[in-house]
């Protein structure tokens, strides 16, 4: 039986979601995303350069929206109003596309989310018919509130955006996962493959990352490593790990038949 990720009534084979920022060029972006096996890719919405872009290739030429599920984000938004406007523009840009990543930041130094503004934006967007995957703090109460508002996935941070610090509070993540009836994905803070595997072993439904791949010395190789890590972590979660013991009185080799 195949183990599929289900988000807002659509299913995906890959549990790795990737960003499209910070790469050298579009060709490297494409190569890394192919190596990651990701089906859902995030994009940012920004003002078009007027008068300088005629004939220049765009991200969409390298990553056709027919091939991937686009997840437009609200990166750089510091208020609910800005985030809602950005995603309404994204919906128009992507022909009525409803699946979005909401993030409302609280501070330019840490990029820590402002959950009061995030909750306000989530309410408006859900009412407006969007399928909202929401970047959030790892507060279990906030995560539950976002679910109750009607978000289709909660995406608590592992650590700060772009920090590569890994999973700083696995205990909170476990509480969020245990209480959730919607997918929980780790978004932000993953630094290397083991971080992604740990997130999946904790029971996350998926992992979203950008910098961990784009800022690696070899982004394409790291993208492949992340694919394997997410798959390995998922399988380990499903397999159910052995209990931890301080020491074992049951050796793996037979106790009988020893030479004398």
């Amino acid at each position: 039986m195949s183990d599929l990720l289900k988000i807002a009534d659509k299913t995906y084979h890959s549990r790795l979601l990737v960003g499209t920022g910070k790469y050298q060029d579009f060709a490297q972006t494409r190569a890394a995303i192919d190596a990651s096996g990701a089906e859902i890719i995030t994009v940012a919405i920004r003002r078009t350069n007027i008068g300088q872009t005629a004939g220049e290739p765009s991200l969409l030429d390298f990553l056709p929206p027919e091939e991937f599920t686009y997840l437009p984000n609200t990166a750089g938004c510091y208020s609910a109003d800005e985030a809602v406007r950005t995603l309404r523009l994204a919906r128009e840009l992507l022909d009525g596309h409803k699946l979005v990543k909401l993030e409302v930041l609280g501070d330019p130094n840490t990029l820590y989310p402002n959950m009061i503004e995030t909750i306000a934006a989530a309410k408006t967007l859900v009412k407006d018919g969007f399928d909202v995957m929401v970047y959030c703090s790892d507060d279990p109460i906030i995560a539950k509130q976002l679910e109750e508002i009607g978000c289709c996935a909660v995406m608590p941070l592992a650590s700060l955006i772009g920090s590569g610090m890994g999973i700083l509070n696995p205990w909170n993540l476990q509480i969020i996962i245990a209480n959730a009836n919607i997918p929980v994905l780790v978004d932000a803070g993953v630094g290397t493959a083991s971080d992604a595997a740990i997130a999946m072993e904790l029971g996350c439904q998926g992992v979203l990352m950008n910098t961990a791949i784009a800022a690696a010395r070899d982004p394409v190789l790291m993208a492949g490593a992340m694919k394997k890590a997410v798959e390995a972590g998922r399988d380990a979660y499903l397999a159910g790990r052995m209990p931890k013991k301080l020491y074992s009185a049951s050796p793996s080799s037979p106790t009988a038949g020893l030479i004398a």
């Binding site: 960003g19 499209t20 920022g21 910070k22 790469y23 972006t29 995030t42 994009v43 940012a44 919405i45 920004r46 003002r47 078009t48 007027i50 008068g51 872009t53 005629a54 765009s58 991200l59 969409l60 686009y70 437009p72 984000n73 990166a75 406007r85 309404r88 523009l89 994204a90 128009e92 840009l93 992507l94 955006i161 990352m209 950008n210 910098t211 784009a214």
Partner: protein
């Protein structure tokens, strides 16, 4: 007519100027973009029917790489 486009003032020597005219004059025809006029989305299907007025504030956006 003066329009504020992506935060910059630009003047256009025209009357009966629609969003479709604007897109054409900015050499953006055929590009995948979305437009907001004074905070309201202008659906692509209504570009030709949406007349612009002096002082209108427009945001013209596209998708770029991001995480």
């Amino acid at each position: 007519m003066l329009l504020i486009i992506n935060g910059k003032a630009r003047s256009f020597d025209a009357t009966n100027f629609s969003v479709a005219h604007l897109v054409k004059s900015l050499d953006l025809e055929g590009k995948r973009l979305a437009i907001e006029c004074n905070g309201e989305i202008v659906p692509r299907s209504q570009f030709a029917d949406t007349q612009l007025a002096d002082g209108d504030k427009l945001e013209i956006v596209g998708a770029v790489g991001g995480g």
